[in-house]
Symmetry: D3
Subunit: 284 residues, 6 copies
Amino acid sequence: MPDLNPDLVRRIVREALDEDGAFHDVTTLTTVPPEQRGRGVFLAKDHGVLAGLPLVVAAFAAIDPSVQVHASLVDGAWLEPGTNIARVEGPLASILSAERIALNFLQRLSGVATATKRLTDAVAGLPVRVVDTRKTTPGLRALERYAVQVGGGHNHRFNLTDGVLIKDNHIAAGRSRGLTLGQVVSAARSGAPHTLRIEVEVTSYEEAQEAVEARADIILLDNMTPAAMKRCVEMIAGRALTEASGGVTAVNARAIAESGVDIISSGALTHSAPALDISLDLEI
Amino acid sequence: MPDLNPDLVRRIVREALDEDGAFHDVTTLTTVPPEQRGRGVFLAKDHGVLAGLPLVVAAFAAIDPSVQVHASLVDGAWLEPGTNIARVEGPLASILSAERIALNFLQRLSGVATATKRLTDAVAGLPVRVVDTRKTTPGLRALERYAVQVGGGHNHRFNLTDGVLIKDNHIAAGRSRGLTLGQVVSAARSGAPHTLRIEVEVTSYEEAQEAVEARADIILLDNMTPAAMKRCVEMIAGRALTEASGGVTAVNARAIAESGVDIISSGALTHSAPALDISLDLEI
Amino acid sequence: MPDLNPDLVRRIVREALDEDGAFHDVTTLTTVPPEQRGRGVFLAKDHGVLAGLPLVVAAFAAIDPSVQVHASLVDGAWLEPGTNIARVEGPLASILSAERIALNFLQRLSGVATATKRLTDAVAGLPVRVVDTRKTTPGLRALERYAVQVGGGHNHRFNLTDGVLIKDNHIAAGRSRGLTLGQVVSAARSGAPHTLRIEVEVTSYEEAQEAVEARADIILLDNMTPAAMKRCVEMIAGRALTEASGGVTAVNARAIAESGVDIISSGALTHSAPALDISLDLEI
Amino acid sequence: MPDLNPDLVRRIVREALDEDGAFHDVTTLTTVPPEQRGRGVFLAKDHGVLAGLPLVVAAFAAIDPSVQVHASLVDGAWLEPGTNIARVEGPLASILSAERIALNFLQRLSGVATATKRLTDAVAGLPVRVVDTRKTTPGLRALERYAVQVGGGHNHRFNLTDGVLIKDNHIAAGRSRGLTLGQVVSAARSGAPHTLRIEVEVTSYEEAQEAVEARADIILLDNMTPAAMKRCVEMIAGRALTEASGGVTAVNARAIAESGVDIISSGALTHSAPALDISLDLEI
Amino acid sequence: MPDLNPDLVRRIVREALDEDGAFHDVTTLTTVPPEQRGRGVFLAKDHGVLAGLPLVVAAFAAIDPSVQVHASLVDGAWLEPGTNIARVEGPLASILSAERIALNFLQRLSGVATATKRLTDAVAGLPVRVVDTRKTTPGLRALERYAVQVGGGHNHRFNLTDGVLIKDNHIAAGRSRGLTLGQVVSAARSGAPHTLRIEVEVTSYEEAQEAVEARADIILLDNMTPAAMKRCVEMIAGRALTEASGGVTAVNARAIAESGVDIISSGALTHSAPALDISLDLEI
Amino acid sequence: MPDLNPDLVRRIVREALDEDGAFHDVTTLTTVPPEQRGRGVFLAKDHGVLAGLPLVVAAFAAIDPSVQVHASLVDGAWLEPGTNIARVEGPLASILSAERIALNFLQRLSGVATATKRLTDAVAGLPVRVVDTRKTTPGLRALERYAVQVGGGHNHRFNLTDGVLIKDNHIAAGRSRGLTLGQVVSAARSGAPHTLRIEVEVTSYEEAQEAVEARADIILLDNMTPAAMKRCVEMIAGRALTEASGGVTAVNARAIAESGVDIISSGALTHSAPALDISLDLEI
């Protein structure tokens, strides 16, 4: 079900290759003749989840359609050091010119998928959904959301246009104009498309109560302790979905999930996931 | 001297705002009236080097030219937790819609600058240049290179088109056709623009000797110990620039630099620098 | 609250001017000297709602920033034949070259707003929301949705990405694989972002029951009689929002609304609204 | 002979699919597995002229090249309610995601072709050409002009750059500077490429005389009665082409044509043609 | 009356600056501090017609809006060696980075204008129009046509879409299908917009007769001697415009014009005009 | 080794075809039926070097993939009047619509290659490299550099970003701030990527001495006599590469080369190379 728009993939990969000057690789042009062929394997060098094969395929295809990529695995596969991910074969010059960009995408997205898998594993068996945030790399949001799905997570709203999240500052802005939280929620509900749920960020039990009374569809419990979240969840009692955010790690995720929240969101999945170590070993 | 193409800044910021749906922020549109004004301050929450102010300015300007950003500092300034970076003032709705993108860029670039500063500090006083690599975020290479400069580093070649770096695979490709390293270097030199230096990657003393004999302009000592590098540097004796790469960290950088190399390159500066924690605190 | 992304406006207007060859208007270039000035007024020639002034302003600004547009009204104003909408003044050649595009947008969007107003007037006093659909003009969806808001309506989901609407074919596809409607709804809910409501299209009382049991958030009653809709609404009893669609007109809208549905959607608002007659009368 | 630039078709269709979020159709992605296949038929539900098949083909091809479209007819065919237009077959998910955009184009262009056919039928047997105007949908002019051709009409100038039409305001502008109509025509002729005919808009017999004397190549008789047009045509006596415009409908077109004009132009062909009712019936 | 779309100018200049890497001029960035100011003058070094000042202005504005360009002349002015064209003043670094692109455009367009002036001077006093062709530099057609106007010439059709020119191959294609030249002309006339004149290329007196009989609006006399053209012109006797083409030079233009043709077209105006020598002399 | 980015070729060719209106060639659409086939040969009409075949192939492919181009030669081949370059075969209408753009590119690039060949022939046997400059046609730099390679030349830096060339104005700017040439060179070296050589323009023996002392990597001897250059080369004695520029022609090139310089650069290769005469002869 994780899906990637193939046109988007082609466009982003092409721009990355352009940025890297890969269509005029002076070193390779001057040292490797076009007829020399090569082959290589993408090998995992660490433990993690594979994500990004479509970008690898697209990178070589953009440089030279005659390069063949034969994947041994599909995105979502678990990697161990030494796992053979894919073989690439074709004109060596083409392989060399696209190598770096292929790896840059594969390592980055596998890193995101791996970080997500760590979090979903941490809450395994609990009825909770791990989701991403808007703290993504500029230009790569769709790719990183895909990697989160590959890692077993779900996606939050894509952006400011297609979801409603009333944050502390929106509430404060309303209060400064004499509005209650309930009135702010009503304003959002009456202006937003009826297809969108209304989510409200709260930082205390009292605010959570207020949000429930305002008939928020989703209540974001921000930076609370698991215990405080548990109290909120019990008070809310299914009247709204509950989402936990703030400093979620693989270490504290289970405790947070055990508070009974429906959703755990983590910006670190996308802004701090270290790249997964993967190499392309060529046989020449 | 670090410079950023203002058009590039505008284009990248606009694309990031588009990706984030910031021009149609449903929550803000429905809860904050256009005439309500707000103000806030960007505050550092950690130690590091500031980088990315032009992107902050561009983000607010793109959403609403009437938002004012008053910077207290310039890129390159050292931040402590609590340091006031800049004030922003204008229509609150506009501030809220651009906040996330402004922060995403500022935190990421300050992270890169900070990582670079750690490395340049580590080699302070030694005649060595710290440089970046091509392991940058797709689409953001120019920004990240700027951040490296802000942090006191220098840039390597921008991409495959504007620099020559003969890697192990290029050499192997030549050898498989019966060419010596010297012949591969000659091929590169005779085909590349005369304005480019010829850099050759080596992994042993013997290869370094071969590269010197081939009259390489720069010799990249890849993944050697500081001791091995020192031997190479002494053997090379100024006949070529020397660059060290492979697993460089703030911990081992000084030892590497003391080997006498001219340049230290680090992919981690751009692919692994953690974002620097910076927040926008609004007064409403 | 209706809002239009000013960048989008600029881009769409420029493309329309380019398509119309307005930057090289041979007739005007050869017959009207650049220094000749002119002025004119936009006059309504029919009854309706004004929508599209920002596009008029953008059209003249794109051709010649020195053309001044002084609006007497704002979008949303009610027009009678003869109502003065705006004055335009500046180089006559510039006015002539942009006139057609300015009018094309103004007439079209005012047409949409007027059609919407007819529908919202028809249901005045009833707790129902009139919304648009995806049957918009390719390339102009955001503008037409704005015009719907200007006319007093609301917007449905923007597109297939930012809303879930399980249609008859999705349900049939599931049934052909042995799934119940409830299972199809569950599949959508478990895959879609938690910020989106799940809407289900039904065509009978029985299907509506099934949808309620499947815990659909919104039930789209497609092509039912008002009486049938009333039965469904009573059965649903607030457990889901209800939306009526299919052949809605200003004539039957009130009867439909009186069935108690929460939302009425109409494709005709955007795909069949006749342009509102507006002219630009020049004084030369 | 009606022709459509295939690149333009691809670009416009892709932009429409992007606008519709069709490359990430959340409902379909979550409820229809990629391997489920489907088939359907495009069926006419009304009388009219088919136009737009290349856009239907392009829409499915853009979403998924494996979807097959087998047309039973070609653009220009006459449709009755129930006429089978084309079959579509392939992955059901792909069909569902592209359906709306395919229909939006097909219905709109068939509507334009049908309106044109009504007008050309009305003047059948008379030596007159029915043409479109610049009152087209922004962004879709080339498509709508194609539909006019498919419906048996011809095209007027594409835009302000590639044709000369001296309108009342151009003449008034000249007169205010002391120029006669003849001098205005001369100015246009001496500045415009020699490959363009010079067309002049007139609203009275006297102006028509003046235009003939000014050696206009085409005289546009604007908003005259058929009787008045007849007088003008007789006076012009073949010295210029004559074009009738203003309030042309299928009802009055024959009377207008019988005045002897060479060309009848109608903005309504493109700005007011109702969409033709066509559906895609799926078998699942 | 020569006019240049300012948006086109901005876009083309920006792309040229991008291609030249002018937004990151390493030499200037490292050797000239941003605060150092400079000034300079554009000086003609040869005789010719000035064309391209708007591109000079746009080039400096794109690099740095604070650079001031003060033109002493306007496009169309006659230059002698030493003529002061314009002063430029502002940050020296900005001036240096944009200098080459500004000169490239100015020299090229002044070259085209100068070549045109030579041809129009050669036919001074005769009732003939000198026009360009489609043999322009890819991407720069609009600029080069502007330069032709600046030099006193006129423009031919812009491209294949906005003019009809039936060439020898079109006629041969028709003949091979059994059509007469008259039938080919009729086909073009009945399919092309009525706003376009029908031009026919002929290479002999007999073909010219045939073209007149076919009621061609313009007859292109290709590669004939002045004497042969004269015979054709006399035979045509005003029933069509006549255009001479093929090997036109400043030397033979008058003889050609004296044959009585209405138009002389020259591809060399755009494809072979040598650049006019102009320099930017800086005072530092 | 000369290489052309195929994507760039496709993009530039498509833009040229769009500019030429080739996708809607009114003449051909109305006079040549789509089923009529044609064939033709590209024939040289002059002596020169062939360059640009990939653009010819791309032009026909963009208009109609069914057109076949069978090249008899490859870029770099020597042409005599009458040499058969390539055959083209397919729908005649498609051939006619793309003909002009195919020829425009082929003639222009063959012209550049031919001019380059003249220069490289002139210095045959001498150890000198002939290179281009930045005086290229805006938008076509990559193509023209390719043609220079095809003609036996080499490329200089691509643009301001990927090479360092300290010109007289940079030096003057430094001197005005009290810097020596050596200090200016040091500034460039310390700021530029270490992969770039530092080139310095000098106009006298004394400056050349200064540049050597400043350890410039390349010294550009601008507008010197061969004798003066020889003195400089002897003084420099291999401590830097030497490049000669200024007024280089096929006539004086050998004398310049015999001065011992390593590189000769010529702007005329790209800004003044006359198009090579090539025609497409159709058999219909």
